[in-house]
Symmetry: C2
Subunit: 405 residues, 2 copies
C-alpha cells in the first residue's frame, strides 16, 4: 500500500518541507510502503511522471527539505467538473491503482483545494478506495479557516528584512525623495502588511502601507504623500500589487494589456511604477525610486522563518496521520494555540470550504485612514517570522536539490 | 588632536564596518583623541554636521558596524578644481581646524578618490597640516589597483544566492519560458559575473551572462536564446544594467529619457524589460519573466560575506595606521596574498591614480562567444563571498542603527 504527494500552484520557500515532513512521518510510523512524488502536480502525474521518495537517502531528503520552490515541480491545471468530463479522473485513478496508491496528498492554495475536493468527491461517488487530503501552502496567506498558511511567514520575514534594508538605502542622502516598495499578495494585503514589522529603534520605517482591502484614492494618496514629504523630505511607501481604485480596477494593470493565467487570475505588476508616475505628474518631486521584490518573496529561503519551516513540515506529517485515521476531502489547517509563547497545532477543514475562497486582511486591523495597519495585526504577524532557518551550504552558497529538473 | 571619517557615493552592505574598524583601531592605539563622523560626506561637513564616534558605547558601535548602507549618510558632491574656486576648500579647512582635526578619511569610490586627491593636493600646496586618506568601497568592484573593493563580496554573495533561488522559482512548471535577471554594475560586469557562482549539483544555472565589456549584438542574442529555448524549453539570462550595443548606447536607456546624476553618469535601468520585449518581438516565446535585483544588491547585509565584512573593517583600521605613518593623498588598496587559503593585506596607492578611472572585467575572463565567464574568473570570485556574516537580531529581524536620520 503506497501514497503519493505532489505540489501545485505558485512556489513558496518552505513547500518542500511539507513533502519531507510527510516522508519522515512515514519512516517513523510505516503507514505506507512507499511515498511517491508526483512531478509537476496533477499535470505530471497524468503523464506518469512519478518518483519514489522513500528510496531517497536521508541526506538527499534533508537537502531537498532545505530547498526553496516546488522541488517536485508544479502546475496550474484545473480539473473539469467530473459531471461534465470524467476523462482526467479515470486516467488518474488508473495510474494511482497501477501503483497501489491509497492516498493522494496535494500541496497547494485555494485552487488546489478545489482539485482535492473534486477528486475526493469523485472517489466517494464511485466507491474508489483512495483518500485525498490537501496540505496548505501559499505566501499570500489567503486561505480561509487556517490561522495562516505555510510559506507566508518566510515571505513575511524576507519582505520585512528587505524593507528595513531598502529603507536604510533610501535615506542616505540629504535629498532622498520618495521610495515605493511593491509586494506580491494578489487580492489580499497580508504580504504588504508584513512590511510593518520593519522598525528602526522601535519606529516603523514605512510611512504608508496600501492594501487591496481598501479602495485606493489617488487624491488622498497625493495629499498624504505631499504632506509627509513636506514634513520629512522623504517618504517610504509600501503598495501591494493588488490595490484597486474605487471602480475595482487594478492600478498595476490600468496601463497594461492584462494577461490572465489559466484560472482567470489577472497577472499583476507595475503598481510601483503607476504610483511613481502619479507622484511625478502631481509635481510632488521627480526623485522617486521603486523596488519590486518580485519572485524573491516566494523563494528566498536564505532569509526564512524557522517557525514557518517547522510548521510546513508539521502539516505534511499531520496529513499522513489524518489519512491513517480515514479522512478524505479535507485540508490540514493550522490553529494558533497560544501567542506568547507561540504554539500551534493542526486541525481538519473540508477542502470544499477552502476551495476558491479568499481570506482578506481583516478590516479591524487597518487604521481608520486606510493607509497603515494596527498593533493587533503586528501581534498576529510577529510570531510567524520567529527564528532564523539554518541552511546547508556548499562553496559558500546554500546547497539546494530538486527532483523535477 | 582629532580625526574625521565620512562616507560618500552609493551605499554598500559593509561600509559602516570601515568606519567602526577605524574607531576600534583608534581605541587600541590611541592615535587621535576623538574620531569624528561627518554626516552626509563633504556636503554635511561643510554645514558642520559632525558627531563624535569616540563617545559612542561599544554596543552602539557594534550595532552600527552590523548595519548596511551609509549609516553616517552620504552625498554626491563634486568639489570644483581649487585653482578655479577655493571657496569649499577654505570653508572645509576652517571647520576641520576648529575641531583640531589632523586627518580626514573618506570612504568612497572613484569619485570620492577624486575628492581625496584634490583635498590632499590643496593642503600640501597651502602647507596645511591635515592628511587625507581614501578608503575604498563600491559594490561595482571597479576601482583600479586594488584587487577588489569592500562591498563587492557581499553584493556578489546576495546576487549569487538570489540567482540560485530565482532559478529554482523559474523552473517549477513544464512550460517555464524565459527568465531575465538584471544586475547593477554600471560600466563593468563584476556583479553580473558573480551570478556564475550559482550552481546546482555543479552546473551553472545561468545559461548566458551579458557584461558591459562585450558590445551586445541583438542578432546573436536572439540566435543564442532561440536555440537554447528549443533545446531546454527554458532559458535563464543574466544581464548587467550597463550593457551597450555596438554604437555604445545603453540598452536600458534606449527607450528612456535618460537622466544623469551630478557626476554626469547616466542613471540606468530597464535592460531586462528591453530584452524581454526583444524576445517577444522575435517570437521566441511570450512567456518571459524579469527580475531587477535593485537596491537590495547594495544593502542586503542579511546575506553578506564575512570575508568582505572583515576586509571592510581591515581597510578602515589600515587607513588609521597609514595616517600615523605620515601618508596623505593615498587610497588604501587590498592585495590578495594567497588564494588557497585566501589571505589578503593592504597597501597604498596614490588617490589620483584611482580617481575617475574604471577597472573593467578582464577580457581574458570572458568566453570567446562573449556570453559567459571563465573558470579563472570563478577562482577570483569565490573567496570573496566566503563565510556568512552573522548579524544582531531584535524581534526576529536584524537590529540596525544609523546616525544620520
Amino acid at each position: 500500500m503506497n501514497c503519493i504527494i505532489a505540489q501545485s500552484g505558485g512556489p513558496t520557500s518552505v513547500i518542500n518541507a511539507s513533502v519531507v515532513g510527510l516522508v519522515e512521518g512515514n519512516f517513523e510510523k510505516n503507514i505506507f510502503k512507499n511515498v511517491y512524488g508526483g512531478l509537476n502536480g496533477i499535470e505530471g502525474i497524468l503523464k506518469g511522471n512519478i518518483i519514489n521518495l522513500s528510496k531517497m537517502s536521508k541526506v538527499e531528503l534533508d537537502t531537498f527539505k532545505h530547498t526553496p520552490s516546488s522541488g517536485l515541480g508544479s502546475c496550474r491545471y484545473k480539473l473539469k467538473d467530473y459531471k461534465i468530463d470524467e476523462t482526467d479522473y479515470i486516467k488518474l485513478i488508473d495510474i494511482l491503482n497501477s501503483l497501489n496508491i491509497k492516498a493522494f496528498f496535494y500541496i497547494g492554495g485555494n485552487d488546489s483545494m478545489d482539485t482535492t475536493n473534486k477528486l475526493s468527491a469523485f472517489a466517494k461517488e464511485k466507491n474508489i478506495d483512495i483518500q485525498f487530503i490537501g496540505i496548505p501552502k501559499t505566501i499570500d496567506n489567503d486561505l480561509v479557516f487556517t490561522d495562516h498558511t505555510p510559506g507566508f511567514g518566510s515571505a513575511a520575514k524576507f519582505i520585512a528584512t528587505s524593507t528595513l534594508e531598502a529603507y536604510l538605502d533610501s535615506t542616505v542622502y540629504t535629498n532622498n525623495g520618495i521610495f515605493i516598495l511593491e509586494t506580491m499578495g494578489r487580492d489580499t494585503g497580508w504580504l504588504a502588511a508584513s512590511t510593518a514589522l520593519a522598525t528602526i529603534e522601535g519606529k516603523q520605517v514605512a510611512d504608508f502601507i496600501y492594501l487591496p482591502e481598501v479602495p485606493f484614492s489617488e487624491e488622498q494618496f497625493i495629499l498624504d504623500v505631499k504632506s509627509r514629504f513636506k514634513e520629512k523630505n522623504h517618504v517610504f511607501i509600501v503598495a501591494s500589487e493588488g490595490i484597486k481604485n474605487k471602480y475595482g480596477d487594478f492600478l498595476g494593470s490600468i496601463n497594461d494589456n492584462t494577461t490572465h493565467d489559466s484560472f482567470g487570475h489577472a497577472q499583476l505588476g507595475g503598481v510601483a511604477n503607476y504610483l511613481k508616475n502619479l507622484i511625478i505628474q502631481s509635481k510632488v518631486t521627480n526623485r522617486v525610486k521603486t523596488l519590486e521584490l518580485g519572485v524573491l518573496q516566494r523563494c528566498a529561503l536564505h532569509c526564512s522563518s524557522k517557525t514557518d519551516f517547522e510548521e510546513a513540515s508539521m502539516v505534511g506529517k499531520a496529513a499522513l496521520n489524518y489519512v491513517s485515521s480515514g479522512y478524505s476531502g479535507y485540508m490540514v489547517g493550522i490553529k494558533r494555540d497560544t501567542n506568547t509563547p507561540y504554539k500551534s497545532s493542526t486541525f481538519l477543514v473540508e477542502a470544499n470550504k477552502v476551495a476558491n475562497k479568499v481570506k482578506y486582511f481583516p478590516k479591524e486591523w487597518i487604521n481608520p485612514k486606510g493607509n497603515n495597519i494596527t498593533k493587533d495585526a503586528l501581534l498576529y504577524l510577529k510570531p510567524l517570522i520567529s527564528q532564523l532557518n539554518q541552511l546547508n551550504f556548499y562553496d559558500y552558497l546554500p546547497k539546494y536539490k530538486v527532483f523535477n529538473r
